[in-house]
Amino acid sequence: MLFPRSWFALKKGGVKVGSWLWWTGYTLCAVWAQEWIAGIDFFSPGVILCLQAGQWRKALWLGIAWGILQEGTGALVFGAMLLFEVGLFCFFFWSKWLLEPENPLFVLFLSVFLVAWHEVIFVGLGSLQGLVVTWNPFPVLFLQLFAYVLTWAFVYPLFIRMVPRVAD
């Protein structure tokens, strides 16, 4: 294994080194993934992981940090990612009433919502700013859907191995 599990249990001066390592690594991978596949979001599965693990504060901070990062690299006036993240949080809590958060169907359900929410927000806010923002074609929407589900399916098994040690 590239990173021994014991690394994630490290704690120095009250700071969870393992958690920092994990999320720094996730951020780097997500940035590169977004560079390789244009226009696709790889950060939201990370927020979903946090919410599934019950790490509310961490989900909030990561959501804010990644939101700022994505606002900076984006093309619209500040506010679109904020609305997107708020939608993610609201829909997560609403979906929890219907399905177990660990259920893969839950992630699929959430991903479908996020794809639709993204389209509504960005086309809406784009036109509000006088920009021509076209609806993404279906192949791109499916690509985003698969990116959410596959990223979650790939990262979740790794994450639950570390969860007891990187919990809030």
Partner: protein, 294 residues
């Protein structure tokens, strides 16, 4: 939570969001903060990787993949001789044009400073809804919003959001791009509008009576002051006349394929004292109009 309280909380959040959004739209404070932080962070991650990739590719093309270099070199030497002859002739004509301009007392053209930049990323993330690329030059290098971006093949786009060391470039193919052009031979003016990736550009406002033939090169007209005059932009691929419109339906292919770009040039306007100026500081006749430069 009681229903009235929940409604109040939702309404309060909505009002707070709209207020924040409107305030930022008017002042741009949050935009500046997120552009600097977001672009610096992402650029800082991508730039070293791109640097390594570039050097590996460069090493391969320079030292390993040398098949046919001698033949190519001989052919290039012949071309260089031709170009030398052409250049000597053109230099004479340029000098003559300068003398004539001086005689006619025309105002001197705006000078342009070139800043080289490397592409470090493409459309990054879900918020990048426009066709953009990320380059490794920002305000620290004198880059300002709306600076034109070109490659040796032609116009690429312009700076959409400048950060400190990284900036996003809005590409010519984006539907929000409007570039004033003219035919290289016919000198017919038009506006080129992007239609998205893998789609030809649309050439607008060419009257039915004007003749802009297929295959003609479109160059920047210099109107609006965003681009210098004479940069190649696109080549006309189809011309159709409609009975319902006053203008022809013309399509053109861009000369630059954005996905293959690695290095490009950012052009900054200069004033007569050789000091870089922002587009906002240009004389009014050079500042682009809404239709003329975006």
């Amino acid at each position: 939570m009681r229903p009235q309280r929940a409604v109040f909380v939702v309404l309060f959040a909505l009002v707070a969001y709209v207020s924040l959004y409107t305030w930022n739209w008017k002042t741009g404070v949050l935009d500046r903060i997120v552009v600097v932080s977001g672009l610096e962070f992402v650029g800082g991650i991508l730039a070293p990787g791109k640097w390594a990739q570039h050097h590996v590719t460069d090493f391969w093309t320079r030292y390993v993949d040398l098949v046919g270099v001698r033949q190519e070199n001989d052919a290039l030497l012949v071309q260089v001789d031709d170009f030398r002859l052409q250049m000597a002739s053109l230099q004479q004509k340029a000098a003559q044009a300068d003398r004539l301009l001086g005689l006619l007392d025309f105002s001197p053209p705006v000078h342009w400073k070139k800043v080289g930049a490397r592409v470090v990323g493409h459309r990054l993330g879900p918020n990048a809804v426009l066709e953009t690329i990320l380059v490794d030059k920002g305000t620290a290098s004198g880059v300002v919003r709306d600076s034109s971006v070109v490659s040796p093949l032609g116009v690429v786009g312009w700076i959409h959001r400048p950060g400190l060391h990284f900036s996003t470039v809005l590409l010519l193919i984006d539907p929000n791009s409007h570039v004033p052009v003219m035919g290289a031979q016919s000198r017919i003016p038009a506006i080129v509008v992007g239609q998205g990736p893998r789609n030809p550009l649309q050439v607008n406002y060419v009257p039915l009576n004007d003749v802009l033939p297929e295959g003609e090169l479109l160059i920047t007209s210099g109107l609006g002051g965003m681009f210098p005059k004479g940069l190649p932009v696109a080549r006309v691929t189809s011309v159709q006349r409609s009975a319902l419109s006053l203008f022809q339906d013309i399509r053109a292919d861009p000369l630059v394929v954005p996905n293959t770009l690695e290095e490009l040039l950012i052009l900054l306007p200069y004033n007569s004292t050789r000091e870089a100026v922002s587009v906002n500081a240009l004389p009014p006749e050079l500042v682009r109009t809404e239709e003329g430069g975006r």
